[in-house]
Symmetry: C2
Subunit: 343 residues, 2 copies
């Protein structure tokens, strides 16, 4: 039963995350530790499952491990040896969220005050840094179960993903001042901001599952294209998603001036939407009208086609990697679920 395997993995991930963050659970820095446990969703106001996020990335990583196993390994439990690597990826994701929130001036995340809102930007920068450090330590911890060569490789993959992450973040921030963006500018940004870490999940997972080289490469590409598809889907929901469905105010991406794929598509067309966009911020009252304008210019249809094509490419690579057993099935289901998510 796929649900119970995933449940076991999610529990193991949460336990491991807590164990890793507990590196700061010491007398003199106890309130520092609390800042991290607050951000991770375990403590403070609003703590609980709705505050932790879905842990999709580490789950993808562990499912990838469990989908490949050499004959002399036990697929049922092998993934447990890789939990600290999966936790590392989730910690990287959270480090980037803490810094993102400062950079974007976001006061809320998952309905709770962000770290910088509660403790100020200087402390929040340090909280993000600490999550990053602990992520590095967490991935090295797989040396308890894997040969050092594999540990170095996993750590290299994660570091390369982090470099892509900072590049994507740079592009995103540098785009804020530009009005002449094209679709070509979109892909390197989301490749860094969204795909890099997802492809690290599936690549590291396959590596730690002792998949062969071509399988590892297929899994990397599966994660990469899944990330692209996922981000385009997120862009569509950010403009046309029902408020109740997306859980944030409808069309808020238009209000926030986000350089999403539909917007860049329409800017490149340089029609009525582009004229309106270049005139300045879109207030809430105009949002429905501008969203319709975008749809009429074909931006929604275009983005949907791209998302479908990327999904298909992702699933083709997954199929080519030939993941086995219930974990393999769960990966396919999870990919489909992520891309058709209505919540």
């Amino acid at each position: 039963m796929s649900a119970s395997l995933q449940q076991s993995m999610l529990e193991a991930i949460e336990t491991e995350l807590k164990r890793q963050v507990a590196r700061l659970d010491q007398t003199k820095v106890i309130s520092f530790h609390e800042m991290l446990t607050y951000h991770m969703g375990w403590t403070g106001e609003g703590a609980g499952t709705q505050a932790t996020g879905k842990r999709i990335r580490p789950l993808m990583a562990l499912l990838s491990v469990a989908s490949f196993h050499s004959p002399n390994h036990d697929a049922k439990t092998d993934w447990q040896n890789a939990v600290s690597a999966a936790a590392a990826i989730e910690l990287i994701h959270n480090f980037s969220l803490v810094h993102d929130d400062i950079q974007d001036n976001s006061e809320l995340r998952r309905g709770r005050k962000t770290v910088w809102t509660k403790w100020g930007a200087p402390m929040a920068i340090n909280v993000g840094d600490a999550l990053f450090v602990i992520a590095n330590q967490s991935v090295l911890d797989v040396s308890n179960h894997y040969p050092a060569e594999v540990v170095v490789k996993a750590s290299s993959i994660l570091s390369q993903a982090c470099l892509e992450l900072t590049k994507g973040q740079f592009l995103d921030m540098s785009y804020e001042e530009r009005t002449n963006l094209t679709i070509e500018d979109y892909w390197p940004m989301i490749a860094g901001k969204t795909s890099a870490l997802l492809s690290a999940c599936t690549e590291i997972g396959a590596l730690l599952g002792y998949a062969n080289i071509s399988q590892v490469e297929d899994m990397r590409l599966f994660g990469h294209h899944l990330g692209l598809a996922f981000q385009v889907q997120d862009d569509i929901l950010g403009i046309w998603g029902d408020e109740a469905v997306t859980g944030k105010s409808a069309s808020s991406d238009l209000v926030e001036g986000k350089n999403s794929l539909p917007v860049l598509f329409a800017l490149e067309k340089n029609g009525a939407f582009a004229n309106r966009w270049k005139r300045g911020p879109i207030p809430h009252e105009e949002v429905a009208m501008v969203a319709n304008l975008l749809r009429d210019e074909g931006a929604k249809e275009y983005a949907e086609k791209i998302s479908e094509a990327e999904t298909q490419t992702a699933l083709d690579h997954l199929a080519s990697a030939d993941p086995q057993g219930e974990a393999g099935k769960a990966l396919t289901e999870l990919a489909n679920m992520l891309l058709k998510r209505k919540q």
Copy 2:
């Protein structure tokens, strides 16, 4: 000749740093790359040797490598295999400087505008993150010359130092709001902020020089105590150093309200200085008087004694590690020079 060995090392370090940072030398992120090369002192206004810093940490690391070598290694060139690890430490140091400058609201560093002053805090957070990422990649690069087990060990030592760094940074920031600090609060702060990275230099250096376990431990302790002595010395200069000698405005640590060792010593004595300190910020006009008050209460003498004792402990551990050849001699000289620095 020790000077020429050090010169060769410094040149190799600078070349390696540039090569590592060039991971971002790509068309789409060229101005991101420029932010890093500006901070490193290579480009932009005021670029040059006075802007790069002294690269003391990577130099200590390479001298440590060159001080130990198994019979089947060539001490004259062995250190070249470890240059990327030395560069990693310098990159960590610089990542922390970029974030520190945001946290402390410092507009100048080495006489030049800080990264956040030039490009804003959001970009500067990302610049620091990128330096951190590249540091991680840089240390993994020693896998070209060392067994994977040694790479994992070096990477673990560096990560642990980074964790100590974030703890020290947390303590430093949390102390800003406190007026009841004691000397006991001082040591964990500077152990994290100053000693952690210095001890990583000498420990990783000895490890990569194939020193034996007890030598590696002695070298770690050498770096640790050297860091403590160095910081106390810095505290003394920050209050009683001549402006021309320290290169910053005399007694500025008093104006900035820095919780240095002499200050904490006098706060614990709870005399005239403590009364004045608790009444609020010290303006420039009062600095000479307050510095004299501190001296009269024995704070300078106390700090000097501590610094001397830590220096002696450091040198004892260095002697116990028994570093060889001209690199070994250079380490002793460098330690003495650092602690008697007048520039």
